[in-house]
Subunit: 138 residues, 2 copies
């Protein structure tokens, strides 16, 4: 049985984050000592590892809850898990696309700066003020 601090160190999560996951129902309530402190078993530590990994990959809490639910009903089809992963992948790809365009635009803006007075000549300001300066949509 591990204290919350020990589990935090093991999983890389922060202590309040673990409590938060319990609060939102991602993790069942652990046992408690007589003095009301949480004590986690191996299973729960593993689940927290799963959650951490999924969060690192950007899965929203809700999707993780669905995945955990699937894991607890092994009779269900793997297709649902694949679908969740697929959705996440598409989400990431969309963000990538958008960020790629932003990067192009911003580097164009940032490069154009002359470093002189801001008044009429500042390229950054002009670019932001007038969308027509832009190279592409965003």
């Amino acid at each position: 049985m591990f204290s919350i601090g020990t589990v935090a160190r093991q999983t890389g999560l922060k202590v309040p984050t673990i409590r938060y996951y319990e609060q939102v129902g991602l993790l069942g309530a652990p046992e408690r000592t007589e003095g009301n402190q949480r004590r986690y078993g191996k299973d729960q530590v593993e689940r927290l590892g799963f959650i951490k990994h999924a969060r690192d990959l950007g899965f929203p809490i809700e999707a993780i809850a669905a995945l955990i639910d699937l894991a607890e009903h092994p009779d269900r089809s793997c297709a649902q898990a694949a679908e969740i992963a697929q959705r996440q992948l598409e989400d990431v790809r969309e963000k990538l696309e958008r960020l790629t365009r932003l990067e192009a635009e911003l580097s164009r803006i940032a490069k154009g700066c002359s470093g002189t007075g801001v008044a009429d000549t500042c390229y950054v300001m002009a670019s932001l003020a007038d969308h027509a300066h832009c190279g592409s949509e965003h």
Copy 2:
């Protein structure tokens, strides 16, 4: 003088968003009609366009406030504006990097799915449960 709805249509912002920008001090309080409705002048519409564009490029509100402050003091150096843009560019690049790695990992995970029972064979689950399955850091 334009009503808030008209300005919203002109700038592409939503009505509550415009009120929000006023609330957080990004935009000065506009004139009001006798009936207490906001009426905006050309200058303010322009500024809202500036804000919209900067937000679309991902600048946080605080950075936009700093840019507006610079715009109102044309004697200051353009270097500060360039610095803000540079910071934003770096931020975008960091996110891009991270997302690129996530995309690789997720597409590997999503592709590996066999579509059969979730029990022992689900690749999605196994990948999430065990970080050792991963091809790279994230």
